[in-house]
Symmetry: C2
Subunit: 253 residues, 2 copies
């Protein structure tokens, strides 16, 4: 298998320069050079067989030779609306969700999140998560890099879903929303009993679960509640379990 590189702006001419960190990975880590065969993907679904044409410091130029096959995308477009977790746990969530086939990742700050939106902005966390998404796409063979959005307060995100206010998300983000919750919080539905949709938003909570207010807000917004069994799942693997269950229920693999 040829090593894969992210080349977001593949030119029509078939020649392009790798972004700086990709170029460094090619020359310094993999020790590749002129004439070596690689694959490049544009992050929005196209993968090409390519060859390194020139290397000059951090500037690596490649020429595409023809289409290459990428891992198939999931049959259901998943937006993961994920409560921000402590420490490095979001790194694992982004890595795993990318590998599972997530298309959009919307971090949300909830009542029981232990971080604030402002501090996330200062720490350049989103840039970091985007790099992880690129790296995970490479590893799992996808030509699509999920869109990691800037964090929102959960209530802002919910308001956008209801179409309130002029600053809500674009229409395609108002796909049906499924909230995963502990069965003790209230009645839940089985995934298989929900109508299959081509695109869906999966809403997954933080370590401490949802607050009563959040639960009430989900209900008023008309979201469907689903449980993943009675054993307490770690918050950082819950998105993976939720996506696997959804793909199985809806045959979205």
């Amino acid at each position: 298998m040829r090593p894969r590189f992210f080349l977001p702006d593949i030119a029509d001419t078939g020649v392009g320069s790798l972004p700086e960190d990709e170029a460094a990975h090619l020359t310094r880590v993999l020790r590749l050079g002129v004439g070596d065969d690689i694959d490049v993907f544009d992050g929005v679904g196209r993968m090409f067989h390519a060859r390194v044409e020139s290397v000059a410091g951090v500037r690596v130029t490649v020429r595409t030779l023809g289409p290459a096959s990428a891992a198939p995308e999931a049959a259901v477009r998943v937006t993961l609306v994920m409560a921000v977790l402590k420490g490095d746990k979001m790194d694992d969530v982004v890595r795993d969700a990318t590998m599972m086939g997530v298309v959009v990742l919307q971090p949300v700050v909830t009542a029981r999140s232990e971080v604030r939106v402002a501090s996330l902005g200062r720490s350049h966390r989103v840039e970091r998560l985007r790099r992880i998404a690129v790296s995970s796409a490479k590893q799992c063979g996808r030509a699509t890099v999920p869109d990691v959005r800037p964090p929102l307060e959960l209530r802002t995100w919910i308001a956008g879903q209801a179409g309130r206010g002029g600053d809500g998300p674009p229409r395609h983000e108002r796909d049906p929303a499924i909230v995963f919750q502990e069965p003790s919080l209230g009645a839940t539905t089985a995934l298989r009993d929900l109508p299959r949709a081509a695109a869906v938003q999966l809403v997954v909570g933080p370590e401490g679960g949802w607050s009563e207010d959040e639960h009430a807000a989900f209900q008023s917004a008309g979201f469907r509640a689903v449980s993943l069994g009675g054993r307490t799942l770690r918050a950082d693997v819950a998105p993976l379990v939720a996506m696997a269950a959804l793909f199985e229920a809806w045959q979205g693999w």
Copy 2:
């Protein structure tokens, strides 16, 4: 929620001594003492409300006060037959599989495993994995601790499934086996099309996947092959994805 402790031999009298590491956790980490309320579970399905009766060094005696509710067990009994992974990755597999509800965990050494059965024995890896299973059971609220078996060569395990030889596993380990594999290796079935069983063995491979010989051995043994989509899953999260898909397909949550 009361802190939980593992007390494998809960006496009929209702009085018992915690194992040494559990006792140390109670006194040194949680700083509990005489009169404090805890829960104790026996690892085979029973959870009790209990009270600390005496503390003398590492000897902590507790008295059970009555039954307490544990997290429900999964409706399908899963044996995870898991290729041994590099480094600490098996720790995560055991932790996550326990949380998902696995009942038996059978590590197997495969053609592409980078460790040998003998070296696993020397490193006391199984003891370590058993401690992790206890700790994960505590966290997720199960009163059942999965049985972590000593590692076997994959071919030994397969031979035992076919009932060859007198040293094969007991009958209950010959439940139907489902092998998870990359779709490129051959035809696969959808989980939902397999007949639901009360107990099943899920066979998950290492980082490098199955060898051709192993694939052939699975086929001759009559195991069913299932794919989890075309994106390459990390070996250490594949068991989690496999169990989630199975529970959803068979409503085994």
